[in-house]
Amino acid sequence: MSEAVLLIGTKKGLWIGRSDAARQVWQCSPVPEFEMQGVYAVGIDTRGDQARLFVGGTSEHWGPAVFHSDDLGKTWAEPPEGSIGFPKEAEASLERVWQIQPASVDQPGVVYAGSEPSALWKSTDGGVTFELVRGLWDHPHRKEWGAGFGGQAVHTVLPHPTDPDRVSVAMSTGGVYQTRDGGASWDPANHGIKAKFMPDPDPEFGQCVHKLAGHPAVPERMFAQNHHGVYRSDDGGAIWKSIADGLPSDFGFPIVVHPHEPETVYVFPLVADANRIPTEGKCRVYRSRDAGSTWEPLSAGLPDVSYVPVLRDAMTTDTADPAGVYVGTRDGCVYASADDGDTWVEVARHLPDVLTVRAAVI
């Protein structure tokens, strides 16, 4: 009997939604785990026999930590020595974990994390402990990476689906960086992505890329939601081309790809960086089924009046068939679709700001 699990990371804790495989009726935990922690990163690792859940939480008092659960969220653990932290010689302290991303299925045990300050972390023990990826930390550009409103962070990690030596990350600000040698060296990969907030709008790096997404069946194609600009690269990130023409706005935070249709991609447009509310004051997910050539708004089950954004990590899919799509809003509502986004049901309302969501049918 399959069970659907939806991790909802909010500004004040973790809620877990549960449903059957139909994903039409959801039960949300009545009280949060990790109370009063900003849960900016959650993860679900379905590669092993038993799913492992992750939470990256930050207490404003007691600092950041990463926990894992092997019983679908009933209990959580961190190793005695802690799971993640800068070595002394790095002369830095972890502020927040922004991303917890298992690698592909043929790299069992490998889990990546992204953090503020901008750093990439790699675990080879299934996400119990993480080590700093020095190649990116020691990059000569690091001193020039800036802080957006959310702090200066690696917020997106996109491991290559077949080549363990290749990983893409996105940071705000800094943009996209890629390694092809397992993390030893990194190059910016922002050609074509605009930085309208800089004197030179076409810099080598320094862009504010809000989110990256890709599909394992088409490894060289990636999508990016930028701080103004929605892009696609068909050559592994060498060149980015706009796919924003059919959208009401090119500003937004999340972008995700359908798990079974590499041409299908979802975004949540906001009016502009100076006006961060949904276009037309409606809660609308936009879907393209042709890799960004055309877009359509999805509305069935979503509010017709809404003035709150969806943050960069608060949209996701599961990998079930038919696929589930999920969004969480800054006014604490979570919506789920079990039919590729055609129709939506409310999972939760009146939670704190939703920062991140991840889902799986297990």
Binding site: M36, S59, E60, H61, W62, G63, A65, E78, P80, E81, G82, G85, F86, P87, K88, E91, A92, S93, L94
Partner: protein, 93 residues
């Protein structure tokens, strides 16, 4: 012996204890006491100080009625037998 009294929220990181006691070797400071927590209660230590050893911004530590930030911070020397009181600051929205 230095006693570190804990708020309720931190007690799970010390096996549920209301306070932990640290045997001071030589002249104890707040910093040396917290460093000594690493072997007994590493998860507790991480919540008081970051990985570089700095006291977390919204953690207050009192020696008597004095916030150690108004004394010498982590370098504040501690007489044997004293108590440190850990309290979360007023923070959060």
């Amino acid at each position: 012996m230095i006693a570190v009294k804990l708020p309720t929220v931190l007690r799970p990181f010390a096996g549920g204890a209301e306070q932990v006691e640290i045997q001071a070797d030589g002249e104890a400071t707040v910093g040396s006491v917290f460093a000594a927590l690493e072997s007994q209660h590493p998860a507790l230590r991480r919540r008081l100080t970051d990985e570089q050893g700095a006291l977390r911004r919204h953690v207050n530590v009192y020696l008597g009625n004095d916030n150690i930030r108004d004394l010498s911070g982590l370098d504040t020397t501690l007489p044997d037998g004293c108590e440190l009181l850990v309290l979360p600051s007023v923070a959060g929205g």
